[in-house]
């Protein structure tokens, strides 16, 4: 029993980050009908900046939580700037252009990973833990730090969900992702909504990157792993579906933690791919997809 809780708790911790990551992918797809494969690079940049700035701030005498907050703000700001630039000069012109956006995002991956390597170097970085200690929940032991990150990710997901369901802007986003021309016929400024949606997606990736930095080794290619997992999560859940992205992410994370416990991580990855194939054979549109 205790083991089961431990596995589920671990799964949820990883899953919370996957959720933030895949929500961005699905949001971009919903509104612009493109898959931004360079989404992981927004995530990586934020993590890299945290990994560089946080030790610097800490050595300047700031307490660790403050140093983390400061570096996270810097990382998120850097990612948002990158997101805005790639949107204005790239993705804005490629809405509803699957092939064009595919080529652009692949090019961006190569370009950005090269740039990151130049700027940040190839060394593996680690970030000092923000908070020490572990908490015991139902006999499962969790590090306080991971629990906190998981909590932040869940709060953000909840906020996004509520905003989409309740605010006029959120409803406009949903309408535009159902039928962007019909949305424009209601006076919804699609161009502005698409930019907002893209930037919210970037923000989610940036926050996820900042949150993952203290609990992971930060490399210039960190985002690629998450892109694959996030993309699978979104496909399983149904491209463009918000609940689908959440369910898909938790599904992937649980398979990983169960597989990782009973076998080893590489077999867990194989299990994910096998299960994805089963899901897609049974429900090609994904669990929550519309068709």
């Amino acid at each position: 029993m205790q083991t089961a809780f431990q596995i589920i708790a671990t799964g949820l911790q990883i899953g919370a980050i996957y959720v933030l990551f895949s929500l961005g992918l699905t949001l971009t797809f919903g509104i612009m009908r493109i898959v931004n494969f360079a989404h992981g690079q927004f995530f990586t940049l934020s993590a890299l900046v945290v990994a560089v700035v946080m030790p610097y701030l800490a050595s300047a005498g700031l307490p660790l939580p403050a140093a983390f907050a400061g570096s996270a703000a810097a990382g998120i700001a850097a990612s948002l700037l990158l997101g805005l630039v790639t949107y204005q000069w790239g993705f804005r012109r490629l809405q509803h252009d699957f092939v064009g956006s595919f080529i652009l995002s692949l090019g961006l991956i190569l370009l950005l990973e090269g740039l990151y390597l130049e700027v940040f170097g190839g060394a593996v970085r680690s970030v000092p833990p923000i908070i020490d200690g572990t908490v015991s929940v139902f006999g499962a032991s969790l590090t306080t730090q991971r629990l906190l990150l998981c909590f932040v990710a869940m709060v953000l997901t909840g906020l996004l969900y509520a905003a989409l369901a309740l605010t006029p802007m959120g409803k406009a986003l949903r309408a535009a992702s159902i039928d962007h021309e019909a949305a424009m016929l209601q006076g919804i400024p699609y161009q502005r909504i698409a930019r907002h949606g893209f930037m919210i997606a970037t923000l989610l990736a940036a926050v996820a990157g900042a949150l993952i930095a203290p609990v992971s080794v930060v490399t210039t290619t960190l985002g690629s792993d998450y892109l694959i997992k996030g993309f699978i999560a979104v496909i399983v859940g149904g491209l463009g579906s918000i609940p689908g992205a959440i369910i898909g992410s938790l599904f992937i994370a649980l398979v990983e933690s169960v597989g990782g416990y009973f076998f080893d991580p590489s077999r867990a990855s194989i299990a994910i791919f096998a299960l994805v194939m089963v899901v897609l054979l049974v429900r090609p549109q994904g669990l929550m997809g519309h068709g």
Binding site: A172, R174, D179, I188
Partner: protein
């Protein structure tokens, strides 16, 4: 007729789809306080006129003006703000969203919140059948009710001109009569209506005057009663 009596004026409008011309120099006008209709067969270009007027399709040549001001080339969301609203072909509702959300989205750009509330109540007077369905996703409504939501959504932007693209297609005869009555009522409420229909009989019974569109060009224009009497119209569109 002075230009100020025209609410919508389309001049020499040409639209191409790739190399295929869809509209060849269409000119027509919507007069204030009247209901006009465009009748034509499938593929004659009726929907293309609607889309070009609303800004969803860019014309190759020609101009569209609203109350004497040009709107050609403006994005669709800006044209709505200027007082023109379209009920698109096939309704194009936001199917997974509720009736209330669909109606509210129609008023997305309006600042006069008080009036929006009044209009919302007015829509439920127009369409009492929607009263109990406000929290239902529109996708699960009947075709007739969906058409009511589509018309209501368009009216929620408080338009001065309403364009309707095939509002009766696929509906049961009784529902077609309901929609026809509603369109007439909208016309009486001071909104100028341009109606596109394949069902010429219904269209001519609603509209004051009409245009006949064939192969992307206007071939005839007259008062509804005169069109309904005309031998060619009777043969080609009324099946008599």
């Amino acid at each position: 007729m002075t230009p100020t009596e025209l609410s919508l004026e389309i001049t020499d409008l040409s639209v191409d789809f790739g190399v295929v011309p869809a509209l060849r120099g269409v000119s027509l006008a919507l007069r204030k306080g009247r209901i006009a209709t465009i009748i034509g067969a499938n593929g004659a270009g009726k929907s293309t006129i609607m889309k070009a007027v609303c800004g969803l399709v860019k014309p190759r040549a020609g101009s569209v003006s609203l109350f004497g001001k040009p709107i050609t080339g403006l994005p669709a969301d800006e044209i709505v703000v200027r007082g023109l609203s379209l009920v698109p072909e096939g309704r194009r509702l936001f199917g997974s969203m509720t009736v209330r959300e669909n109606l509210e989205l129609g008023a997305y750009r309006r600042k006069d919140r008080l009036r929006v509330g009044e209009d919302f109540a007015r829509m439920l007077d127009y369409f009492p059948a929607l009263r109990d369905r406000l929290s239902t996703p529109v996708g699960s409504l009947s075709g007739g009710q969906q058409q009511m939501v589509a018309v209501g959504r368009a009216l929620m932007s408080a338009p001065r001109i309403l364009l309707l693209d095939e509002p009766t297609i696929g509906l049961a005869p009784a529902v077609v009569d309901d929609i026809a009555e509603i369109v007439k009522a909208i016309g009486r409420s001071g909104v100028d209506v341009l109606l596109v229909e394949q069902n010429a009989e219904v269209a001519l019974s609603i509209a004051d005057y009409g245009y006949i569109l064939e192969n992307g060009g206007i071939v005839a224009e007259d008062e509804s009663a005169a069109l309904a009497r005309s031998e060619t119209v009777r043969r080609a569109y009324l099946g008599i």
